[in-house]
Assembly symmetry: C5
């Protein structure tokens, strides 16, 4: 049984947008005219270096690792998570918390929920469950906020590096105005850094930052649902009461009807 | 009896502005020079893809469906809604809430009010009426806020895609400077993406987002008027008191005099 | 006796700035080169249509009517208003509120104050006076805020329409590069929409919005002075006490010494 | 004895930056090419007119008068002011407040402090001293905030006027493309308004507004030091206590040790 | 024993980004074409002068001195600082605060902590320790905030100076259009101020300001850890309790396990 749905919107959206730009480039002539190593270096390497100067190399690399996970985001629908939590709570009610041992597989889809249920089985008190899990939620938010601010900073720096590269290219071209046949290609190369900077910022970095911010909200909601469920089981509450609590957390359109 | 007025400002305003641009284009020569499939693809398709990358395909499509409704917005004037609510409350006072059964037609113009009055006839308590209806108001605001933020994001992305398309076109053109007769048409096509991006953002997406935000405020007001009226009927209050309450919700210029 | 001073700064400031631009245009050659009907239509008509799409035709027209009044703003100096209010309060103290009947002419300059004093003569209680007048103040602020936000939106849209018009003109011109003699005039016309858009936004709409916002603050102050005075008369307070109250409302430089 | 230090940073900074631009202009050829009366009129006169349209002629002139004082700002160091205040408080303690009459010269450097001490000598109560002086502090902040907002508005308008002037110049030039020898000089003149607008905004108006805002903060601090000292003397407090109070107002680096 | 780690990200990031720009310049032809003394003067000198006009010469120089320290930032990891503080607290617990005299070397890496521990050894009460150290933390934040706002202002001014320089260069060039061979080099030099302004702002000033703001947060955290530790020792608390306190200050990922 798997409640996890992989959201490929980000990877597909960015990929298709880039593909379309690639097609436009190929149709219009040779794609080779759009490749220029110095331009790539100035924009990509320069953006990386200056972002690291704003934070530190460590923080930038850790952000990139986290972003790789955002590209293929495996999320649970909040209302599916709520139903799953209610199902586990129902088992806990019927068989007792120790009886959950046999049905631990119901939590296999979410390591956070698994750890939480194991704590309940081990007899951890509800205050301790809440405290330890809330700390994990907070740590997740902390990591994500840091990463999305690194991405936003990089999205700000890359068009600036593109501009700097283009001005450098223009200055070089203007020194060779005497040979008109070279003006065109030289200006084309000068414009490439602007193109790379704009594409990097608007087609890659900003969407990733937006998606990361959106996912943080969503993941917080799912984690809070499991947190509330584990707390409720540790407190040996009636699962009907849990359903009411979960519905106050859920957005109106996703509210669940399980017992009621 | 119909209190609903259809507000066609948005559809007319956008249509007439686009028409005028179309006329300017036609007067100035062949409109064909303004059609370019790759340019359309880069801006419209690219904006859609990247907006989906920021949210998800589902959310973007749901927003578009909601926006279609905004184009032809059928609103009630808040003071007409207040008078209508007072008329129903007067009936409830005279004939009793059960007597409303015969006059349910008075609520036909607004499904939300109809559901609310049916709850009152069914004898739902005023607390329950308030709670269930407030939840519906909140759900409406939720949906609208999400949609307008998707539109704002798309309005931000489309000029960027226009810029990227134009830079690509310029780079391609600069590779063919040797044949001066091609410079003009090539640059014209390069500029088309900028034109499409700017038109999409400033003439379509931004006005729709603004209108959606404005309608959300207005619809919230109308729904709160009906909510207060239903609550008041469920509580079997004097309709004169309801008039006072409704007037505190209404903007000064729209206040009503029904009983007083 | 007239305490109202007409502030022509806005009408003079905008007129003189436009005149100067007109002179610069005339000196530099034929002013005819700056007239272009399609450009006027795209910028003025387009800005109007899109602003209406963001709000509604009604709201935009109502804003324009209000703005016409702002152009020639007849304001009272706050400290003159305070002195006038104290003079009326002194009369009320000496002759009683009914005695104000003979001196109603003292309020002729301000219909709001006149209505307020008439209410006091009619024996309205101070709570009622406050409530009804505060509602009028609020309605005025409401109308002004709406209008200035419509102006700000139009000031945002008009340079965008100017840009769109210019890009259209450039695309048309680039299709006719083969005839170099037409390039200049075509580009000149293309630039006109940018000029119109910038002038409309920076020289007309933004100053009007700024002035309207400033006047709202000032008018609120004057109305609150008359409100406090009427309240004080209805309460049959000592006018010396009113002077203290008014001085806390007035900015330090405009405080008055009437009795004290 | 003089505790006032004149801060010429603003006048020197702006003057030297303008001088450098002037030198660059002179080195590059004839400075005459940078003088153009219509350009000066459009930018300077236009910015003045439109700023007046946003506020009123009176307010703009009053702001300019205040700004002239900012150019040569005579400030007291906050910790020097605190020491001076403590010295006067020490005298008041030893000789009594009446004894201050002979040492009124100690307050000669600051008219605000002088007025405050005279009030103390005249036996004004501490509540009255606080109220009257706080009103003066508030009036100073009021005047400065108004002036800096006028400057900020002008700094916003002047580049827009520069842009409008440049577009006008370009349109005029494009009408005379047939005579290529005139293109260069015409475009040069068109660009002058952009240059004037940018210089006026970034090199004069914005720095003046920033400095005015910074000075307001500083002057408020100095005035509050003298206010607290006068209040303390009127209350016949021990000056050691005053020292503690003043040190809580001062930034950490400027704290004083006088008695302690 | 040294717990201090030098963070060279800023100096390396900025240096490598500049180096790469330098390489791109050298590959593309002679680097000499990118050197122009008047351009350097207008951008660097002009930015310095105008920043000083916004603040004062003193403040700008003090900010630069502080920034030099940011380039090579020697920070302590927060969890290493916490462990070090716990080690010292353990010694204080075992040998008594006077016994710390022999182990003062444990605080050698951080002058702030050293001063704090010496105060504890001298028998300063915990309230006094807190008050004096909190004042030092506040003074550090004060200095840093001032400096980063000076940097942000300079980062805003430098591209504006670059624009002004470029417009001046263009006007000069346009006066010599008759000699086409000079157009290229003249425009190249005109563009250099834009390049310098953009590089100064985006590659140097903004990253330094960002890093300074980030370091301020980090340094505040480390200082607060030592502050809490010193307070705890002065209060002769159990170090296990201190560990709990420090873990509430530390971000989740850096929490320490020393005693527990």
């Amino acid at each position: 049984m798997n409640t996890v749905v992989t959201d490929l919107s980000t990877i597909f959206g960015i990929f298709l947008a880039l593909l379309m730009v690639g097609i436009a480039v190929t149709i219009g002539g040779s794609a080779k005219a759009f490749m220029d190593l110095p331009a790539v270096l100035i924009v990509i390497f320069g953006t990386f270096m200056l972002t690291a100067a704003c934070y530190s190399f460590d923080e930038v690399l850790r952000s990139l690792a986290l972003v790789a996970k955002t590209m293929v985001y495996s999320s649970e629908d909040a209302s599916v998570a709520a139903r799953q939590a209610l199902k586990v709570a129902e088992v806990a009610r019927k068989k007792g918390v120790l009886g959950l041992q046999d049905d631990i597989g119901l939590t296999a889809h979410n390591p956070f929920f698994r750890r939480a249920v194991e704590m309940v089985i081990d007899g951890t008190t509800d205050e301790e469950v809440t405290q330890l899990l809330a700390q994990e939620v907070h740590a997740m938010q902390d990591r994500h906020t840091k990463s999305s601010s690194v991405l936003r900073k990089a999205a700000e720096i890359s068009p600036a590096m593109g501009l700097i590269g283009t001005v450098i290219g223009l200055v070089q071209m203007l020194g060779h105005l005497s040979d008109p046949s070279k003006i065109g290609p030289a200006m084309a190369i000068a414009l490439l850094t602007t193109l790379y900077g704009a594409m990097m910022s608007y087609m890659i970095l900003s969407p990733l930052a937006s998606k990361l911010e959106r996912n943080t909200k969503h993941e917080t909601l799912v984690m809070r649902i499991y947190l509330k469920a584990s707390e409720s089981m540790a407190r040996k509450e009636n699962p009907r009461r849990l359903e009411l609590t979960l519905n106050t957390l859920l957005p109106p359109a996703s509210r669940v009807k399980y017992f009621l």
